[in-house]
Symmetry: C2
């Protein structure tokens, strides 16, 4: 049964396990440093579909089906699916759910979606409301570029702080505690924070303040320090946002996370060789990194106690054109070795 | 603690109460049959803001603040907010949450969002993960028209099955059981269902199959019949969708709900006099009807045992242009007099 710990954190006392996880990605992601950890890589950006949006749906379905299979379950044993993406009206997820036939709670947390779905999924299983469920998220470079920025054919130049939207999806199957499997120990839901960033090409700076707030709240609630963790893993702040996060935590909270910090946006690509400027981004970035490399390392025992803090920039092209700044949000889950 | 009942339904054994609720609407909604039940009506479609999108945020904030006040709580006592809307990247909700400072789990369920937020909110409180939280949703006629259809200035003609997006927001504060307050007794999360409707102006037909599925599953899980309920209230099928729902339930499940069925889309406007064709729609439709008239009647004791089934059409303009049909979804909550 979930239990509140401090002002913001929720402890999951039944320790729901992640009994299956999978990631499906595109070509560029497969060529990156984590390539060998992904379950499936598509050489073709259409993934055999007719449009980029349908390709994103295909990726998400692929990750979900693979994760359910790896968990040793049938689709009929999945009580609920939490999923989301970046597309208008979240069509990346809803069309996949149509084909999968799962009960579906749609989420929108921008790039924080994987953490949000894991946090809600953890609570649902811990409480007994669900026996097994899936938590998933996806993004696609091509569908995101033409929706948020420019038609790909335009070939617009990218600014130094810009990040590269990951083509990928990740899925975790959350279920009752099972020894040896990674489990969700605690979760924290974040609040929106906006320090006034108005450059829509600098998402890292827009999300860093929310990440700092959620990390500081979690450490305070649990009376722990950064070095108590095997890793404090942010979603996709990239190089620009990661540097700002460390500055903010140091200035606002006198916290130094440098020894244990890493960021999915910095891990998924070889930033210099793959020409991705400030790193990876998109819902699929942390989804595919967590649901492959991170959970695999926890599973095999070479990493433990990972505070995964997914970060999202809650803007839209309309809000930017209406001269709004970019609000950020960050949700966290503490993942442990079972 | 939530407990599974049958294959799809979840019983909330602690019976979390709705200790406050409020709705804020536009001029046309205030002039409709439920006008006197709304907490706040704006004569100006901008609600004093500079854009329609900011006006929608204003409506949602207004409903949330009013509901928290009516619950006798402070914002600092709200552990989490579930909220969503129809705008791209859900900016109607996220910008409101920035100003309110609440911990925020963003949802996307199209017009089913109010039911989805109440269902998740009910489970979170029942499980002990949260003490008090808000569940909210909003829509705005002007922001929806220009995003989904045509610029308002174009004055496009509307087809007979078209519905009128409600300018409105509703919010319910879910908290521990309190005698006499309405409470959430059971919840059910729906699956996506798509019978191939491709007319983006006929949302009622696209959503009716999902509503039929969720209602049939709930009745089966709980071993009850339609007349056991004071009302089976669908989200916003409108007149077209309501007729189809009854046909589907009769043909597929031999169920007759006519004696107890009503639909928020049919209730919020005087369909003939207010020239709304097939009725009201939008996340704000069921949100404002449930968080005013329905909860008020349950509260005063003139209505009980309301199975509220929020319905959503999970399309986007892009999916329609890519010749996809329209998937529907329906989530349910059983509301009772405390």
């Amino acid at each position: 049964m979930p239990q509140r710990t401090g002002k913001y954190t929720i402890e999951l006392t039944q320790k729901p396990s992640i009994i299956g996880y999978a990631a499906a990605v595109g070509k560029k992601e497969a060529e990156g440093p984590l390539g060998k950890y992904f379950d499936k890589a598509f050489a073709d950006e259409f993934c055999g579909e007719k449009t980029f949006e349908k390709a994103e749906t295909h990726l998400q379905k692929c990750a979900i089906e693979k994760a359910i299979k790896k968990a040793g379950l049938q689709k009929s044993q999945i009580d609920l699916a939490f999923a989301g993406d970046l597309l208008n009206q979240c069509i990346g997820s809803s069309f996949g759910m149509r084909d999968l036939g799962l009960n579906f709670a749609g989420l929108y947390g921008a790039c924080s979606t994987m953490a949000l779905s894991l946090a809600l999924g953890g609570v649902m299983v811990d409480s007994g409301a669900c026996n097994s469920l899936v938590a998933a998220a996806s993004s696609h470079f091509c569908s995101a570029e033409r929706q948020y920025r420019m038609p790909l054919e335009y070939g617009g130049q990218r600014s130094p702080a810009a990040q590269w939207t990951v083509t990928g999806a990740g899925c975790a199957v959350v279920s009752h505690h099972r020894s040896n499997a990674p489990y969700v120990d605690k979760v924290i839901f974040g609040a929106v924070r906006d320090l006034g960033i108005t450059d829509p090409n600098n998402m890292g700076a827009a999300m860093a303040p929310a990440a700092a707030q959620t990390i500081a709240r979690f450490l305070n609630d649990t009376n722990t320090k950064p070095t108590d963790y095997g890793m404090i893993l942010t979603g996709d702040l990239g190089t620009t946002g990661s540097a700002l996060l460390k500055q903010l935590l140091s200035i606002e909270h006198k916290l130094d996370i440098s020894a244990v910090h890493n960021d999915c946006g910095n891990m998924i690509f070889d930033i210099e060789k793959q020409d991705v400027h400030s790193g990876g981004s998109g819902c699929g970035c942390s989804a595919s990194v967590v649901c492959s490399y991170i959970l695999e390392r926890i599973n095999e025992g070479s990493l433990n106690n990972v505070l995964f803090v997914g970060t999202g920039a809650l803007l839209s092209p309309t809000s930017s054109m209406q001269k709004e700044s970019t609000p950020g949000i960050a949700h966290g889950v503490l993942l442990k070795k079972g």
